[in-house]
């Protein structure tokens, strides 16, 4: 009975995924479609999107995966057609240096700015020595406490 249930369930699950013959392939398709952008609905991954193009591209990836192509080969195939934008994690190259290093540059600039500001303020806040009268008052207050 349990076996029957499992089999029915497996059959139903397969129905939703047309070419899902090989579970290893399916893992690769899943992994890649979470790394790649659906260009029709730009803030979704291929895995999340139900747009027809996303579906076509998932099938395309599935076919390539079935041909034992590596992740890199499949990504290169799509980048050649849709550009780096199809990747959710852009590669580090001259046109994306600002994107990758910009935040760190801003952080460094803010750090330098903070140091300069503190140094300058230190110069301005001069020590103000107590007068004899003030020193006497302080001693009196301290004595009262104890």
């Amino acid at each position: 009975m349990i076996l029957l249930c499992v089999l029915t369930f497996a059959a139903m699950a397969d129905e939703a995924r047309p070419l899902a013959a090989n579970p290893v392939t399916e893992v690769q398709v899943r992994r890649l479609s979470e790394e790649l952008r659906c260009l029709v609905c730009q803030n979704q991954t291929l895995a999340d999107s139900s747009a027809p193009l996303a579906e076509d591209l998932r099938n395309e990836i599935r076919e390539m995966a079935a041909k034992n192509m590596s992740d890199q080969e499949i990504i290169d195939y799509l980048v050649a057609r849709y550009g780096d934008f199809v990747r959710y994690r852009p590669p580090l190259k001259s046109s994306t240096v600002l994107l990758w290093l910009g935040p760190f540059a801003l952080l460094a600039a803010a750090g330098v700015g903070l140091v300069v500001f503190l140094r300058r303020r230190q110069g301005q806040v001069a020590d103000d020595p107590l007068t004899a009268e003030q020193a006497r008052q302080v001693a009196e207050l301290l004595n009262k406490e104890s």
Partner: protein
């Protein structure tokens, strides 16, 4: 007064960035296909499925390849512009009918006032579309005499785009 200058300056820089950023169209993704050979294909023609249409036949000519579909509402918008372009005879226009059916496509052309395409290939599966990096129909490619893609327009071709960008480039490529 002086201590307000810095925040004010930062504010204006921010406004500057936003003014530029908000004007950019995020749908216009630069195509990696520019200056690359147009991907080859051979598709059955819309008017006659026995006959095939292939970019190979176009070598030696500057031509436009327009990806369209009867389900695409922005295609309706550019259709009169394309009809006008073909009437002017400046550049041959060919089409790819993307993920569509023959009947609907033919009806759509009739409803739109005519067929501006010298030939249209039927890409029913969308495979050729993937090779061309199509993600938002209509898309238009300008291909030179050597079969190299020189320009790509994503979204409808408007009179302005045609006049300011495409036609000057077409003339330049034709003169070569």
């Amino acid at each position: 007064m002086k201590r307000f200058l810095l925040p004010l300056g930062i504010f204006f820089v921010l406004v500057g960035f936003l003014a530029v950023g908000l004007r950019l169209d995020p749908r216009e993704v630069p195509s990696p296909l520019i200056d690359k050979p147009a991907p080859q294909f051979s598709l059955p023609r819309l008017d006659n499925p026995q006959q095939m249409f292939s970019p190979k036949d176009m070598l030696g000519q500057v031509w436009l390849l327009n990806v369209w579909a009867s389900w695409c509402s922005a295609c309706r918008e550019e259709h009169p512009v394309l009809l006008e372009l073909t009437k002017s005879g400046v550049v041959p226009l060919y089409g790819i009918d993307y993920k569509d059916t023959r009947e609907e496509a033919q009806q759509w052309l009739k409803d739109g006032g005519g067929d501006p395409y010298r030939a249209t290939g039927m890409d029913i599966s969308g495979r050729v579309g993937i090779d061309y990096g199509v993600y938002g129909v209509p898309e238009t490619y300008l291909i030179d005499k050597a079969g190299i893609i020189r320009y790509k327009r994503i979204g409808p071709v408007t009179i302005e785009v045609l006049r300011d960008k495409m036609l000057p480039l077409i003339r330049e490529l034709q003169a070569k």
